[in-house]
Amino acid sequence: MRLTCPLCGDRDRREFYYSGSEDTLTRPAPDAGDAAWDDMLYLRTNPAGVTKDLWYHESGCGSWLVVTRNTVTHEILATERVADRKGAPK
């Protein structure tokens, strides 16, 4: 398996650390209530199809990536830096 880091290019899977669903990027407001926080922290969908996960380019540039992939075909559809979402410079 290979992932394309937006900074480093096409790299081997061993350079990356897997950190689960991208849900954790979206935090509810502090006063959103137990249900919203429970949902963010513990409830995960397990789709057969397109999913978005967080990967860390641990042995590379140190960027956090959002990787869009298909769990049925194993196709990697897109990679994006979390920092780019937030408008950080490269």
């Binding site: 900074l7 480093c8 290019g9 042995s59 590379g60 540039c61 410079p89 490269k90």
Partner: protein, 170 residues
């Protein structure tokens, strides 16, 4: 106070030549990590005479991550522009000269042909964090100083295996 002297990470290690590649230690001298504060990269570049783009080196500056580089040498005063930390002695540098591509293919999970002069990559040497670059003298590998002998051993082993394979092939 006793007389102290600085030893390099692989002090006394003789160069090793196998399969057309020579491995040796390189003593780099001072290394300063320069991490730009948000939005200050252009000002840092003006002070340092440039700042490397991702996967590149520029003169004495090696790219080590987003908005971050190692300066081989002392940094000028970059107060308010970048976080600078002294990394001297924290890294060991290994030099490869000769026909390096076959060897690099055994050591790093990248295409060695992409490592042209002026390239500087973050990619692991087995499980060791490394900086891999090529300059006009050859390939330079930076690893944590504590990993220097492990890195040497792994590279030397790959060189022995490569030489053995070439001997069989005749």
């Amino acid at each position: 106070m006793p007389e102290l002297f600085a030893k390099s990470a692989l002090h006394g290690q003789k160069p090793l030549t196998r399969a057309g590649v020579t491995l040796s230690e390189e003593v780099l001298g001072p290394i300063t990590s320069v991490a730009c504060f948000p939005g200050k990269r252009a000002l840092v570049a003006a002070q340092l005479g440039g700042f490397p783009a991702p996967n590149r080196r520029e003169g004495n500056l090696l790219w080590t991550g987003p908005e971050q580089a190692f300066l081989l040498g002392q940094a000028p005063d970059l107060s308010g522009l970048a976080a600078t930390t002294d990394q001297s002695g924290g890294w060991a540098a290994l030099r490869l000269n000769g026909e390096t591509n076959k060897l690099l293919a055994r050591l790093f999970p990248i295409d060695p042909r992409s490592l042209t002069e002026g390239t500087c990559l973050r990619t692991p040497l087995f499980h060791m964090s490394a900086v891999l670059t090529r300059d006009d003298k050859g390939v330079l590998i930076l690893v944590f100083r504590s990993m220097a002998r492990t890195a040497w051993d792994e590279i030397a082993h790959a060189m022995e295996m490569l030489q053995a394979r070439e001997a069989i092939a005749g």
